[in-house]
């Protein structure tokens, strides 16, 4: 992917082009800014047999399971709301053997993605995991889940995890230019390493900004344009999860999802009303407004607390008008020198 290709496209196009049945898909966002718009499009396009990967997930995997998209899950945290009497799609899917689950810890997950992002085949990780059933109990990853090796320098036993390179990363960020330079801030979580580990990257963003704006704050770029395959503009694309600087948790909506999710029929109703029957994210937001009014969305808007801008500066060191500081010659003197010293004739 060239840095300078315009990658802006609809989410419909991006998902149909870059997510295939059987793919391993990593949700690069960590608890916040969950790429719901992309996830709902994957469900609408009825992608099958996906392996879902994340470090920490909230309700997004429940929805993917409800859509029949997943056959495997590799994660370290799967948010469970509602207390022990309530069962969600994950519980039903595990009971019906519709999905296989491999457990890691956040750090081992992250280590695998980081190794993948760096192009290493494995990396060492922290020791404590070896003393747990995370190390001992293995499902579909089997032998290759986690291993130990002897450190060639200290001779100490070292826990290592293999690199993970998902087929596609999905990620929601605040802003992006049309080339795919994606800027994200707030809590950085796993975004950078999870996205960079993947072979293809779909970025959805709250807004598209000029390339010039990106260049003024290159430190905010978490994914460079040359790695990105699709840029999709999806305002409120992470609702009901929060996006720093834009909107907060919509906990009332999340609570309503939980209450629907406990029963199979109600869960199906939620999935069809909020995902399958919606054309796209805009339609989802319109539907939200028609159901609940504009006010709940307005309440989500966060207050302004602007980041300080810094001078990254530049300086013309050589030519100051007709004088070159570097060699202390005027332009005329310099031209005489080049004529005198030139070895070749034009």
């Amino acid at each position: 992917m060239s840095q300078y290709t315009n990658k802006v496209m609809s989410l419909k196009e991006a998902v149909s082009k870059f997510v295939n049945d059987g793919d391993m898909v990593v949700n690069a966002n960590f608890l916040t800014s969950i790429p719901y718009a992309i996830i709902h499009e994957i469900i609408r396009q009825e992608k099958k047999d996906l392996t879902a990967v994340s470090c920490s997930s909230i309700e997004e995997f429940d929805q993917l399971l409800s859509g029949g998209c997943l056959s495997k899950i590799i994660t370290s945290y799967y948010h469970r709301g509602g207390g022990k009497v309530y069962k969600r799609e994950l519980d039903r899917a595990l009971k019906d053997k519709r999905v296989q689950f491999e457990d890691y810890s956040n750090f081992t997950m992250m280590s695998m993605l980081m190794a993948g992002a760096m192009g290493y085949s494995f990396v060492p990780t922290l020791k404590s995991v070896k003393e747990s059933d995370i190390f001992r109990i293995r499902t579909f990853k089997g032998e290759d889940k986690i291993k130990t090796i002897l450190c060639p320098f200290t001779g100490e036993e070292t826990v290592v995890v293999p690199a993970l390179n998902p087929d596609v990363a999905i990620v929601h960020v605040q802003r992006c230019d049309k080339f795919g330079n994606a800027q994200f801030w707030g809590s950085e979580g796993t975004v950078k390493w999870s996205a960079l580990a993947a072979k293809k990257i779909i970025v959805s963003c709250e807004e598209i900004v000029e390339h010039e704006k990106i260049k003024r704050s290159p430190f905010l770029t978490v994914i460079p344009g040359f790695r990105v395959n699709a840029v999709c503009v999806e305002a409120l694309g992470a609702h009901p999860s929060p996006v720093a600087g834009y909107y907060n948790h919509d906990n009332l909506f999340r609570a309503s999802f939980f209450s629907f999710a406990f029963g199979q029929a109600a869960n199906d109703k939620f999935i069809s009303e909020w995902i399958m029957e919606r054309k796209d994210r805009k339609d989802y937001i319109d539907h939200y407004i028609s159901r609940f009014g504009q006010q709940p969305l307005d309440i989500l808007k966060v207050n302004e607390y602007m980041s300080d801008s810094v001078n990254i500066g530049y300086k013309n060191l050589y030519w100051r008008g007709d004088f070159c500081d570097e060699i202390a010659l005027t332009r005329e003197e310099y031209e005489r020198k080049t004529e005198e010293l030139g070895e070749l004739e034009l």
């Binding site: 300078y4 960079l196 202390a328 010293l341 030139g342 070895e343 004739e345 034009l346």
Partner: protein
């Protein structure tokens, strides 16, 4: 108008960068070549430096690979570790362009020491060392070298950076991707034969002869014709490109040594404010 071989070297090096490519540039000549490529035939090339400035568009030559003052912003700021792992090791760097001091027949590079490593004779001299060269040339998809002051040798005094190793498939057997593609010198451009990986003269600069090159290279040099190829003649540069280069980096027009001498001679004047236009 007169121009220098060094200037032709820089302008020829720029042509090695194709439009849309992602190119890692090293210190000195490659930086100028990268900027000229972007200004001329490769506006969509992505130029990055080892220090983690990705997608720069420099308006003057960078002092070093960590000089944000030579460009007005850039797209992606990372650190050196990210550059070598997430970009180079993952195979996203189409090419790297590096300045070198000593090269052998198979494109292996010395940038560590001239003469004895333990510095015993007066002629022995420490060079800068690897810097980023070892892994850039070792892992980028293609390597282009620029050699202004240095020279080809039968045997390197120190092997800093792997090229095609002992030729043939030895680099692949060592598990390394990529490999040297071109070496730009004051005489012309050398490339590497596809099977043997031996360096040969591929194109000749204006007002330069094959005999000039043979005295420069210590081994029995092969030229393009020996491999059934045509020895290209490098076109003289465009005047506007020379002028752009002189604005971008005036040193190449007069040589670095002379430039530095001029600067140091001017220093007391500079302090006294003797130059009227120095206010």
């Amino acid at each position: 108008m007169k121009y220098r071989k060094a200037e032709l070297l820089v302008l020829s090096a720029a042509k090695e960068i194709k439009n849309g490519e992602l190119c890692v540039i090293g210190q000195g000549i490659p930086m100028a070549a990268g900027a000229i490529a972007k200004k001329t035939h490769a506006p969509n090339a992505t130029i990055l430096t080892e220090a983690g400035m990705v997608d720069i568009e420099a308006f003057q030559n960078l002092e070093d690979v960590a000089d944000p003052g030579a460009c007005i912003g850039f797209s992606y700021s990372v650190d050196l570790f990210d550059v070598f792992t997430t970009i180079v090791n993952r195979g996203y760097a189409d090419l790297c362009m590096l300045g070198i001091a000593q090269i052998d027949k198979f494109g292996n590079i010395n940038s560590t020491v001239i003469g004895n490593y333990n510095i015993e004779k007066r002629s022995d001299m420490r060079l800068s060392g690897s810097g980023g060269a070892n892994e850039f040339a070792g892992h980028c998809n293609r390597t282009v070298y620029t050699m202004l002051g240095g020279k080809p040798v039968e045997k390197l005094d120190y092997m800093t950076t792997p090229g095609w190793l002992t030729g043939g498939d030895s680099r692949r057997k060592a598990g390394l991707p990529g490999g040297p593609d071109a070496v730009l010198t004051r005489y012309g451009v050398f490339r590497f034969e596809e099977t043997t990986k031996e360096m040969y003269l591929a194109s000749l600069f204006p007002q330069t002869t094959v005999e000039d090159v043979r005295t420069y290279v210590p081994w029995d040099l092969k030229i393009a014709e020996d491999f059934g190829k045509t020895l290209e003649k490098v076109e003289p540069p465009k005047k506007e490109d020379i002028l752009f280069l002189r604005k971008f980096e005036p040193m190449f027009g007069i040589s670095g040594n002379i430039g530095r001498r001029l600067a140091s001679q001017a220093l007391p004047v500079y302090w006294e404010g003797g130059r009227s236009n120095y206010k």
